[in-house]
Symmetry: C4
Subunit: 348 residues, 4 copies
Amino acid sequence: MSEIQSRKQDHIDIVLNRDVGFPDVTTGFEKYRFDHVALPELALDDVSLETLFLGRTLALPFLISSMTGGPDKAEQINRNLAEAAAELKIAFAVGSQRVALENEGAGGLGKTLRDLAGAIPLIANLGAAQIRGADGPDLAARAADMIGADAVFIHLNPLQEAVQTGGDTDWTGVLSAIEAIAKSGITVAVKEVGFGINGRVARQLADAGVSIIDVAGAGGTNWARVEAARVKEDDRHASIKAQVGAAFRNWGIPTAEALVEAAMVAPDATLIASGGIRDGIEAAMAIRLGATLAGQAAPALAPALQDPEKIVEHFTVLGEQLRTACFCTGSKDLAALRTARLRGLDAP
Amino acid sequence: MSEIQSRKQDHIDIVLNRDVGFPDVTTGFEKYRFDHVALPELALDDVSLETLFLGRTLALPFLISSMTGGPDKAEQINRNLAEAAAELKIAFAVGSQRVALENEGAGGLGKTLRDLAGAIPLIANLGAAQIRGADGPDLAARAADMIGADAVFIHLNPLQEAVQTGGDTDWTGVLSAIEAIAKSGITVAVKEVGFGINGRVARQLADAGVSIIDVAGAGGTNWARVEAARVKEDDRHASIKAQVGAAFRNWGIPTAEALVEAAMVAPDATLIASGGIRDGIEAAMAIRLGATLAGQAAPALAPALQDPEKIVEHFTVLGEQLRTACFCTGSKDLAALRTARLRGLDAP
Amino acid sequence: MSEIQSRKQDHIDIVLNRDVGFPDVTTGFEKYRFDHVALPELALDDVSLETLFLGRTLALPFLISSMTGGPDKAEQINRNLAEAAAELKIAFAVGSQRVALENEGAGGLGKTLRDLAGAIPLIANLGAAQIRGADGPDLAARAADMIGADAVFIHLNPLQEAVQTGGDTDWTGVLSAIEAIAKSGITVAVKEVGFGINGRVARQLADAGVSIIDVAGAGGTNWARVEAARVKEDDRHASIKAQVGAAFRNWGIPTAEALVEAAMVAPDATLIASGGIRDGIEAAMAIRLGATLAGQAAPALAPALQDPEKIVEHFTVLGEQLRTACFCTGSKDLAALRTARLRGLDAP
Amino acid sequence: MSEIQSRKQDHIDIVLNRDVGFPDVTTGFEKYRFDHVALPELALDDVSLETLFLGRTLALPFLISSMTGGPDKAEQINRNLAEAAAELKIAFAVGSQRVALENEGAGGLGKTLRDLAGAIPLIANLGAAQIRGADGPDLAARAADMIGADAVFIHLNPLQEAVQTGGDTDWTGVLSAIEAIAKSGITVAVKEVGFGINGRVARQLADAGVSIIDVAGAGGTNWARVEAARVKEDDRHASIKAQVGAAFRNWGIPTAEALVEAAMVAPDATLIASGGIRDGIEAAMAIRLGATLAGQAAPALAPALQDPEKIVEHFTVLGEQLRTACFCTGSKDLAALRTARLRGLDAP
Ligand SMILES: Cc1cc2nc3c(=O)[nH]c(=O)nc-3n(C[C@H](O)[C@H](O)[C@H](O)COP(=O)(O)O)c2cc1C
Ligand SMILES: Cc1cc2nc3c(=O)[nH]c(=O)nc-3n(C[C@H](O)[C@H](O)[C@H](O)COP(=O)(O)O)c2cc1C
Ligand SMILES: Cc1cc2nc3c(=O)[nH]c(=O)nc-3n(C[C@H](O)[C@H](O)[C@H](O)COP(=O)(O)O)c2cc1C
Ligand SMILES: Cc1cc2nc3c(=O)[nH]c(=O)nc-3n(C[C@H](O)[C@H](O)[C@H](O)COP(=O)(O)O)c2cc1C
C-alpha cells in the first residue's frame, strides 16, 4: 500500500471513529430560524424539490460530496454512491482522482462509473497542487473523461496540506492554473474541504471563469484534526505537525457565513453549501441563503460503506425533511423557499 | 381500538412520560422581567383577575387548552375538566371532536358537558383537514351544538400531520374553509398546537373573520417529537417519518414572539397565549404582551387524569401567582397589568 | 414561642442551611469590570475609606443590614453586631422591632444597644404594614428611642408578605404613612428585603421626604423562597402559598440595576446598595455607581452567631478588598473611586 | 533560604501544579477569527517570520517572558532558556534581578548569560518598588550590565504586592523613577505581570520615554491567586490577605483588549502581548492587533525545567502554528499578516 493510499484508509477510519469536528465553531445555521407558516395552502405531496444543475434535472437539490475511499474500499464506495445517486436523482462528486489517474481508473473511477450513474451530474476531482503547471488543463480533461464527468472539482485545501507530513505546500500559481482549465472549455467547480471559501477568493474564482463554487465551510469535519489524529507521536517532526494541526481545531469560516458572503460577491456563480450540514432543515436554510445544492460527505460515509439502499434511505430522509420544511414555510418549490422568511436570531 | 384512537392513547402516555419538549427553543418569556414595585398601594385581596371572554365573565383569565383523551380516558378527563372549569370560572376548550362526531358524542363530548360546565365559555374543536370542502360550516355547527359550545376552535397543525404516517397533508383551501364557517355565523377561533401562528397568518385569519387566535407557540410540547416517539423502528416508511420528525425538534415560533407579532398585526382579534406557559408570572407576561387569556394543555393533563379537585388546585396556584404578580407590579386588575413596566432583557 | 417568633427562628435556619438564592438572577455587578491601573502612584496604606453617614464618620463604607434574630438568638446576635460595628466603625441597622416594641426591648433591642454601639450610626427598623395609620410617627419615634437610633428603616416587602400565610397584604396608604413619619422630624430610611426598589418608587420616596434609600435588590437572599421553604406540605392552603412563592424564585430587580436607576432619578437621596454583595470589589462597584454605603445581611449571619471577632474579621476582609480595589484603580479615597473607569461588559 | 527565595520556589510549584488562572476572564483572543484564505498564492516555506527587535533580527517574533526561578533552579532555568533562545533566535527576558543584584549575579544572572544568549535581544528585570528614589538609574544600569542586556524591564505589579504579606505597597514616585531611567540613556521596557496595562498608563509610559510596553494582560496566570495559594491559613493576618487575593480572581484587563487600547493611544511604542497566549494563532492575532512580539512565561516553565531542546521544541511548534496562520491568511510575512482580515465575533 503506498503512503498516499494508507493515508486515505486512515482518513476513513478516523472520520468514522474519532471526534474530529470543530470544538467551538458551528456552521452558523443554528443562528437562523424559519418562520413557521401554520396555513401553508399546499399539499405536502405537491411540493417539488426539483432543481436544474449542470444542465440535468435533479429530483432533490443534493450533492454527495467528494470522498476518496482508500485502496480497499474505494471501488465499492464509488459503485454504491453512483447507484444510489442515480436512483435518488442527485448529483455525485467523486473523491480525488490523483491515484486513479496514475493507475488507470483504479478504485472504481473508470468508465463504468458513468454507466452506474446514468443521467445524473457527475463531477471529477483534483487537488490544487496537481493542476499547477502547463499540463493542468490536460490533466483535468483526463480526469473528467475517465468517468464521463460533467465538470471537474478543484479542491483547495491549503491548511490540510500544511499540517500533514509531506503535504503540498507550494500554492503559487494555483489561480492561474484554474483559469487555464476554465479557458480550455472544461466546466470548473472549486471547493474547500471544510475551512470555507471567503468572499474575496469566491470573487477571484468567478473572475477566473469558475462557474460552480462549493464553500465547504467550517462546522463539520475538521481536516486539520483528521491529519493530526494520524500522527504517530514518536516521530519528532510529525509530532510538531500534529501539535500545529491541533491548534487549528477552531479555524475556518462557518458554512452559513461563507455562503452568505459568496452569494453577495459572486451572484452569478452556482453555489453549493457543504461542511457540517446535518439535516434537511439546514439544507433548506442553505438554499434560502443562496445555494443551489446542499452537499454532504462525512454523514454519507457510513451508509456508503454498506450498500446503495442505505445511501438512498439517508438522502430520502434528508429530502423529506427538506420537503417538510418547504411545506411548513408555505413554499411549493425551491424558488418559493428562497423567499420564505428566515430570521437571524442574532439580529436585534 | 381504531388506529386514530390508539394514537390518542399513545399521545397521552408520551406527553406524561417522555421528554418531548424543544431542546433549544424556549417560549421567550424568560427574556422578559417585570419591574418590581415595592410600594404597590394595593391590598392583595382587592386585585381583580376577572375578564370577559365570549360574552361570559371569567374569575381567572385562563383557558384549559384542547386535549383529546383517547378511548379509555377521554370521558373521565372531559368530565373532570368541565367540572373544574365551572368551579374555577375559567374557559374550557375540548380536544378534537373528529371521533366524537362519528360516534355520537363519544368520550364525554355530548350534551352533558355543557351541564357540567355551567356558565363558562366552552369551545369546540376540529382539525383544519376536516373542515375543507362544502360541509365545513355544517360540521362546525354540529361540533358546537354537540356540546353547547360558544365557539369552535380550528386547529392548524401542518407539521404534526406531515410527520405522522397517514397524516392529512393536503392543506389547500383551508383558509377559505375557515372563512366559510365564520360567514355562517359561528364564532371561529383558530389555534396551532405548539409551533406558533406567525404575523402573516394571524392577519389572514383576522381578515377571514376569525375572532379568536391562540398562537400556541413553541417552547412547551413539541408534537413532531411526540409523533416521532410513537414510531416502531422496524417499519421503514415510519422510521423515515420519525427521522423527519426528530429534525423538527427545534422548529417553531416561540410563544412570546408569536404573541407580540400577532398583537401588532391583528389588533382587533382576541388573543390567547399558549404553548409552554409554566406559571402565573408567565401568564401575567402574556397578558401584558396582548393576550386576553393564557392557556395550558400538557401541565393540566396529570391533574385531569385524577379528579376535579386536582385541576382546581393546579389553576388556583396559577391564579395566585398571577394575583401576586399583579400585586407586586402595583396592578389592581388586568387592565392595569397591561400598562405595567415589563423589561425585555435582550434590549440594550 | 409565638408564631412570629418561630418564623424568625426558621428564617435563620433556612438562610444558613438551604439554597434560597435566585437561580437565574444575578446582582448585575458581574457585568462590570474596573480598569486596572498598573501605575497607581499611591501607597496602599494611604488609601482612605472614610465616609460620612448620618452625621457620623465611618472608617469603612459598610452597613450591617437589618436582621431579626428570633427568640433565642436575637439578643446575642444584636450584642455581637453592635460591638463589632463599634470596633469597625461601620453602620448597624437592627432587624424588625415589631416584637421588641410589644415586649419592651426584647432581643437585645433596648437602651444597652446604643451603649455597645458607641458613636456609630444606628438604624431602627419597622415594617411598612405596621406604620400605616395615625400612630405611625409615634411608633417610629418609639422604635428609634428604644435603641437610641439615628434613623428609622421602613422595610417594604410586599412579595414576602404575599407569599406567607397570614402575611400583611394590605399595602394601601404606606406612602402617606412614610411621609407622615418624615414630616414628624424623624430621619427616614427605606429599604426592600431583596427584590429591589425601582426608579419610580425611589422618586416617590424622595418626594415623600425619605433621605436614605437602600435598594436591597435581587441576586442575594430570595425571601419568597425562604418563606416557601418554611411550609409544611400537608396544609393545602400553605402548600398553595409555597407553590406561589417558588414561582417568584427569579423575580426582582438586580441590585446593580436598581442602584443605577435610583441614582438617576433620586440624585439627592443617600443611597445604600445591598442584596447579594459578595466582596469588597462589588462594594467598590456599588460606590462607583452611586452608593454611599454597601450593605450585607446574610453573609454576616454566620459570624454574628459566633462572636464579635468573627464579624470584625469578616468586614475587615471586605474592607481590605475595597482598599485594594481603590489602590488598583489609582483611587486615594472614595471620592476618587467614584471617578474610576468602570466598564460595562454588555456595552458594545 | 531567605523569605524572598522561598517565595520564588513556591511560585514555581504553584504555577506548575495548581489551577491559578482566571475563572471567568479570558484573554479576549477567542473573540476574534481570521478569515481563512483558500487561495494563499504562497509557498508555506517562503513565509518569513523575521522581525527586528531592539536592533537585532529575530527568526520568530517571540519573547520568553520574565521568570524568576528560586534558589535551586534559577541557574539551570536561565541557562536552558538562554541557550534555547539563542538557537531559536527569539528574545529572552530574565526574571527579577533583585536577589541577584545583592548576590553578585546569583541564579545564573551574570556575564555568562550573554555568552550563552549570543546575539539575541536580552532584557533585564527590576520591580517598580526597587527603582524608586535617586539610585534608580544606577540600579537599572547595573542590572543591565550584569547580564549584558539590551534593555531593562520594569515590572508593575501593584496588585501582586498588595495581596502578599510584606509586599511593597508604596507606589508613589514610580512614574518619575521610570522617567529618570529612560533619561539616563537606558532603553526602558515596562510590563505588568498578568493584570494588564490600560491605555492611560500606556500613554503615561510613552510620554515618560518608555520605548517598549508589554501589556501582560489577564487570561493566563493570575498572580493574586498564586500569592493567595501560598498562605498558611493559621496566620490571621496572612489569612485576611489570602481572602483579599481570592476576590481578585477575575480582576484585570484581558490581554487582547489591553493590546488594542495601547496600540491606539501609544502608536509609537513597541508593543509586546503576553498573558495567557496559548498558541501561534493567538500570537498571530496579537501581531495583527499591533504587537511586535508575543510573549509567554508559564507555558514555557515546564520545558525550561527540563532542557534547551524541550524549549526549542515548544517554541518551534508555536512558530509553525504562526507560519501556518500566515499561510492560511495569504500573508507572506508579518507585515502582510498585519493587514489580514480578522473578524471580531462580537461585532454585529
Ligand atoms: C472520508 C472523506 C474523504 C474526503 N476526500 C476528499 C477528496 O478526495 N477531495 C475533496 O475535495 N474533498 C474530500 N473530502 C471533503 C469533503 O468533500 C467535504 O468538503 C468535507 O468533508 C465537508 O463536508 P462534510 O462536513 O459534510 O463532511 C473528503 C471527506 C471525507 C469525509
Ligand atoms: C394530550 C394532548 C392532546 C392534545 N390534543 C389536541 C387536540 O385534540 N386539538 C388541539 O387543537 N390541540 C391539542 N393539543 C395541543 C394543545 O391544545 C396545545 O396547543 C399544546 O399542547 C401547547 O400547549 P402546552 O405547551 O400548554 O401543552 C393536545 C395537547 C396535549 C398535551
Ligand atoms: C436572617 C435575616 C433576617 C432579616 N430580617 C430583616 C428584617 O427584620 N428587616 C429587614 O428590613 N430586612 C431583613 N432582612 C433582609 C436584609 O436586611 C437584606 O435586605 C436582604 O437579606 C438582602 O441582603 P443580602 O443579600 O446581603 O442578605 C433579613 C435578612 C436575613 C438574612
Ligand atoms: C514562574 C514565574 C515567575 C515569574 N517571575 C516574574 C518576574 O520575576 N518578573 C516579571 O516581570 N514577571 C514575572 N512573571 C510574570 C510573567 O513575566 C508574565 O508577565 C505573566 O506570567 C503572564 O504571562 P503568561 O500568561 O504567559 O504566564 C513570572 C511568571 C512566572 C510563571
